[in-house]
Each structure stands twice: as structure tokens, then as C-alpha cells.
Amino acid sequence: MAVQLDGAAGRTAPRTGKGGPPPVRRGRAARGAPYLLLLPALLATAVFLGWPMVRNLVLSFQKLNMKELIQHLTDWRGIGNYQEILGSSQFWRVTLRTIVFTGANVVLIMLFGTLIGLLLARLGKKMRLVLSVALVLAWAMPVIAATTVFQWLFDSRYGVVNWVLDRLGWHSMAAYDWVGTQLSTFFVITVLIVWQSLPFVALNLYAATTTIPKELYEAARMDGAGTWKVFTSVTFPFLKPFFLATTFLEVIWVFKAFPQIFAINQGGPDRLTETLPIYAFTEGVGNLHFGMGAAISLLTIAVLLAMTAYYLRLTLKQEEDAL
């Protein structure tokens, strides 16, 4: 998923930059221009996202199982689907789990991503190239391919991971069942997701640090600041918009992570590693209860909106200030 090299850094530009929207000539035509320019994007969004979303909303009030699908029947359930979901303890457990899972992964990704990004800045030219290429390779590996390889690496009998642990002297791990418990399954999933996401953060962060004026660092060093101090007083404040934007994206991407979790153990054991998207898919598409699935998916968006509300508000407020 994560592929927007420098994009996040780029996005921060208008906020760090001085200019807000421009002093434009305000003719009649000019007033219509922005709408005209946005028309294709808005139209496409309305047709190819808005329409399915409305359809999804309608479905969430229906019972649509295999029978209704095949026979083209419409069976209204009112808010029955929602009642059933919100009334089940499973939904709330899954929601809580999703939030914790997303939080943990995003923290790990941002933390290690930042460290690797700073490391890149500190390396010599050759070593930097080596590490960058390694990061790019991991980043470019298609999700389906990556999940397949990780399944294989963590295989209990033929996996390289267990073999290495065994050789290192941890013999009880020789046939360890990584997907046998909730925690160990989440461990594998987390390793996979963090491995896939770090390159994006690290490379972007490195690219962003190169834009920080050298004078700022020199001034800080002259004041006798140590490494940590330089980071907190120069790097972090300068790149704050970058951190915010990247965290926002990572929250969305980790929250929505689907093939990774599904391929590792289909949300098992005992559905204990299901996150909201997996839960919605298993209930809706897997068990052919499409109405239920639609309802869950809409609740899922609500949860994601709540999780990102801070950033959304902040961004909109800045937009307002800029105007």
C-alpha cells in the first residue's frame, strides 16, 4: 500500500510555506474556474465511490443473503442489522482490538521509521545507498507476495524463523506454532505490517530532513545542544506537519490492513485476530450476509473517523487560517 514517496512531505508544504491561496483576478470566469477544475474529480468520486456507498447504506438496512442475492429479492430489515451488531459483544471487542492494534503498529512504525530516517541522514553515501535500496525493495514488494513469503518464513515446521531460533539455542521454538495464539499471531502480523510500512516513513523522513536549513542545526549545536536536544528543538518542530500527515496516513493504512491479516491466519485462532475490516468481510462476504457486512463497514468508517478526527479538524482549521 504505502507508496507515496515524499508525498507526505510535499503535502506539508503549504503549511510550512508562507503563501496561502493567491491573490487572483476575480472575474466571473475566474470564480467558476475552481469548480470547473474540480468537476471531473468530484463527478468521478460521486459516481464511483458515492454511488456504491449509497448502495452500501441501503444494503445495510436489508437482509441480503445468498437467497436474496440469487433470486433478486429485497427484504427490508430496518435497523435490524445495526441492532444486532451493536448489541453483540463481539463487535465491541473487535473495535477495541482494532484500536489497540492500530495504535501499537502506528507507534512502532513512526518510532522506528523516524530512527531509520535519521540513521539514513547520518550514514555515508555508499551505506545510505545500500540501505535505501533495501528499503525500496521491501516497499515495492506487492502485498500479496509479501504475505505469502511471511507465511512461509513463520511456518512452524519448515519456517526459517523457527530454524534460526532453534540454532541460536532456543530449542523450544523449533516447532513453535506462531499462529496458535492470539498474541503470537499478532506478533507475526505486526512484523509484516511494520516491515512493509517502515520504508515509506524512513525514506520520506530522510528526504524531509534534507530540506531543513543547515544553519538551524549549526545554531543549535553552538548553543551546546546534544543529539536529542537537536531533534526536539530543530528537527521535530520543523517536520511537525510531516509527522502529523504521515501518522494520519499510517493510521488509515494500518486500520484498513486487510490482506496481511487475512492471509496470515484468516483472523484466527478462534477469530481472535480479527480487526474491523476482517470482521466485516467474514460476516458479510465470507458468510454471505451482505446486509450485515454493509452495516459493519459503515460502522467501521465511523470508528476510523473518530480515530482521525483530531487530524481532520486540525487540517481544516489550518485551511481556515490560511484563507
Binding site: N65, M66, K67, L69, I70, Q71, H72, D155, S156, R157, Y158, A175, D177, V179, G180, N265, Q266, G267, G268, P269, D270, R271, T282, V285, G286, N287, L288, H289
Partner: protein
């Protein structure tokens, strides 16, 4: 009745009989000329020679052509259920025998009662049961197979075992001998070979579901299920295979192919896969029926296989029925047994089974102790990924008491059974 008679002649006359059937079947041969019939079969289901001869015979008989569209397993449920809702669904579809009830209840399949009477009078009930719902025939059994013990003759000879076991006790004794006398793993059995376990529950006479208050609920806490699981555990103790994997990850045939495994509980076709992975293993492979507690009754087996069904919204239903007459004729059924090692579904096919050792080993158990999963439409949902019964198996093998393990997943099973 006339058509039935002609079908009977077809049994005797094999190939020629089919041609005769075409001209006498009521519809004129050119009635379907230029039509094309679409048949969905699953990846790996239709053997090459069978496909060839069915296509030829069908074309000859009806003048229409048939196109086999091979479907991948991944996401098949979504594909099939959406396809059956379309204006031009596939005309004939292969459906897993335990999935048939769900599709029939959803109104997706045409009634094939007359056709069954015409061509399937001598099919065994164990095969046909899974093609009927509430007494109505919604599909016709195409093929089914059951597991056998696939063993490595070389290793067994090394261990000095001369006669094949006919009871479970003898089998376990043989495994012990292999363990002590050779460096091979006596049996490779991962913890989640769920269909082998299902066979064991058939063997102990357990029911996986029961009716309570007009609803189907889990019966996994039943002592008979626990007893079957105990047998499984005894088997699994001979293996170092992972307790949390099924026989497909990694493919057990490829492990067997390495020549370090005494036996696997396998379907007949897995021998071909082993040979593909290691051609040298070919002459070492042998099969025998999974022995039961006594020599008289083999171990219970799950009769897994597929039915052919006709899409209820299909535009070519008459032609589809003509296709089924060809595809399920005696000689084509015999070809499935010979070519793919499937279990014979009628006594008339016993001859064909003799030509395939896997089918020969499978036949006694299928006839005497064959069964399926519960044949209720809701059952399909229970087996959906992630299958809770697999979790149950892993938990018990990991040391949990069967009753506790059952309790852990019963609510999940009940929830799946409750959804219509």
C-alpha cells in the same frame, strides 16, 4: 421409461450405447445445434481423458458444444453465488457435496428428480444423500472419494511388517514398529486434517449438530465426538507434524514424497502429487483401507466429493440435462474411477475400481462406513474459513480437555448455524 431402457442399454454398450441414446432420447439430434453449454468445474476436478470423451460424446449426441470453465478455489463461494444470480449463469456447475444444500435452499438450483430416476437408479445412498434436500433431488453426484492409508512399502518392509493391518490396534502396532526399527516418521498427520476427523466421528456414530428448540445447534460437546477426537489424538501422537496446520500446508504428499514418512491419511489423487514431487517414490506407494476397531468394519470415512447441479436461472436447462446424461453415464463414471481414483458410486463400477489401487482401497470403507458432514444448509457456514472445528482439534491436541475445547467454540458454531 423408454429413455430409461435406452440408458440401460447404454450401460451394456458403453460408448456405442451413448450414441444410441442420443438418437432415441426424444429430442432430435440437431435440436441443439449451434448451442454452447457452459460448465463450471473446479480446478483439478476433471481429468483430461474424461473431459475429452465427455465433450466428444456430448457433441455427437446433441450437436451442441460444451465449454468447461475451470474455476480456482480461492473465493469460489463469492464467485459461484454471484454467478448464479446473473442473467446468464453457467448452465451446469460443480458444487461440493456438503455445500449443495445451501445453494438448493437459496433457490439457485433446478430440480433433477426425473433425471436421477432415469440414470441413477443404482447409485449408492451414501453418494446420493448429499445431492438431495428435504427429499428433493437438486443435484446429481459426480464423484466422491474417501481417505485411505497411503504407505511407503519400502519403509514398512524395512521395519519387517509383512501383513497389512486390519484393525486399528494392528495399525498402531505397525507404527510403533516403524518408529523403533527405522528412522522414518511412522505417520505424518497434522493437527487439522478435519475430514479425517469427520470420518472418525462417523465411526463413533457421533452427530456434530443436534436440534434444540427447533434450531440446529452444535453437538461438539457430545462424548462420542470426544471419543473420536481421542482416536485422532492417538494417531497424531505418531507424528511430529504441526498441530495447527491442515494437510494442505504444507502439502502432505510432498512430505511423503521425501521417502521419510511411513504413511499419510490421504486421498487417492495425492499419490500423483507425491510422484510429481519425486518420481522415484512411485514404486514405493501402497494403499490400504483405514482399519476400524474390528476387522469387520473399516474406520468411518468422510465421503468428500462434488455434485453436478443445473442453474435454476439457466437458459439451457434441457441441454444441461442432456449433458448430465452423458457426463454421468456408466462409462464416463468408470473413467472417473479409473483415471482419478474416485470411489465407485455403484456396484457396476467395481470393475473399474480394480484398475486403480487407491480406489480399491477406498471402496470397502465407503460402502460400509461412509458418511458426510451434517446435511443441513446452514452447515456450509460452519466450514467457512476460519473453521472453528479446526481450532477445536488444535486445542485438544494441545492438551485441552475435549469438553472445554468444545465449549470454547460452540457459541461460534451456533452463531453460524443460526444465520439463515
Amino acid at each position: 421409461m423408454k429413455r430409461g431402457l435406452i440408458a440401460a442399454t447404454a450401460v451394456a454398450g458403453m460408448l456405442m450405447g451413448v450414441a444410441a441414446c442420443g438418437s432415441g432420447g426424444g429430442k432430435s439430434a440437431d435440436g441443439f445445434k449451434g448451442h454452447k453449454l457452459t460448465v463450471w468445474v473446479m480446478d483439478g476436478s476433471n481429468p483430461a481423458q474424461w473431459t475429452k470423451q465427455v465433450s466428444e460424446q456430448f457433441e455427437k449426441k446433441t450437436g451442441a458444444t460444451v465449454e468447461f470453465k475451470v474455476q480456482q478455489w480461492n473465493g469460489i463461494q463469492q464467485k459461484l453465488s454471484t454467478a448464479l444470480s446473473e442473467d446468464t449463469p453457467p448452465d451446469v456447475v460443480e458444487i461440493g457435496n456438503t455445500q449443495t444444500a445451501a445453494y438448493a435452499k437459496a433457490g439457485a438450483l433446478a430440480d433433477l428428480g426425473d433425471l436421477k430416476k432415469e440414470i441413477g437408479a443404482d447409485w449408492s445412498d451414501a453418494f446420493n444423500k448429499a445431492a438431495t434436500v428435504d427429499g428433493k433431488q437438486y443435484a446429481l453426484p459426480w464423484y466422491a472419494g474417501n481417505r485411505v492409508v497411503m504407505y511407503n512399502k519400502k519403509i514398512w518392509a524395512q521395519a519387517g511388517i509383512t501383513s497389512l493391518p486390519t484393525t486399528r490396534a494392528e495399525l498402531f502396532k505397525a507404527f510403533d514398529t516403524i518408529k523403533s526399527k527405522t528412522d522414518a516418521e511412522p505417520l505424518y498427520l497434522p493437527g487439522q486434517n478435519w475430514y479425517f476427523f469427520d470420518g472418525l466421528t462417523i465411526g463413533t456414530g457421533a452427530d456434530l449438530v443436534k436440534q434444540a428448540g427447533g434450531k440446529w445447534v452444535s453437538n461438539l460437546g457430545d462424548p462420542k465426538v470426544a471419543k473420536a477426537m481421542d482416536v485422532y489424538k492417538q494417531y497424531q501422537a505418531f507424528s511430529t507434524a504441526p498441530k495447527n496446520k491442515d494437510e494442505a500446508t504444507p502439502q502432505q504428499s510432498e512430505i511423503f514424497a521425501k521417502g521419510k514418512t511411513g504413511a499419510i491419511i490421504a486421498m487417492g489423487y495425492e499419490a500423483a502429487e507425491a510422484i510429481k514431487a519425486n518420481p522415484k517414490i512411485k514404486d514405493d506407494i501402497g494403499f490400504f483401507t483405514i482399519p476400524g476397531e474390528t476387522a469387520a468394519k473399516p474406520e468411518g470415512v468422510f465421503l468428500g466429493g462434488s455434485n453436478f447441479a443445473v442453474a435454476g436461472m439457466g437458459k439451457n436447462q434441457e441441454l444441461a440435462k442432456e449433458f448430465l446424461k452423458v457426463a454421468l453415464s456408466k462409462d464416463n463414471d468408470a473413467q472417473m474411477v479409473r483415471e482419478a481414483g474416485w470411489t465407485p458410486k455403484s456396484p457396476a463400477l467395481a470393475g473399474a475400481a480394480k484398475e486403480n489401487p487407491a480406489a480399491a482401497a477406498a471402496a470397502p470403507a465407503a460402502a460400509k462406513s461412509g458418511g458426510t458432514t451434517p446435511l443441513i444448509p446452514q452447515w456450509a457456514a460452519v466450514e467457512n474459513v476460519p473453521n472453528p472445528i479446526k481450532s477445536y482439534m488444535t486445542a485438544v491436541l494441545g492438551g485441552k480437555a475435549p469438553a472445554d475445547a468444545a465449549k470454547d467454540i460452540e457459541s461460534e458454531i451456533n452463531a453460524r448455524l443460526a444465520k439463515q
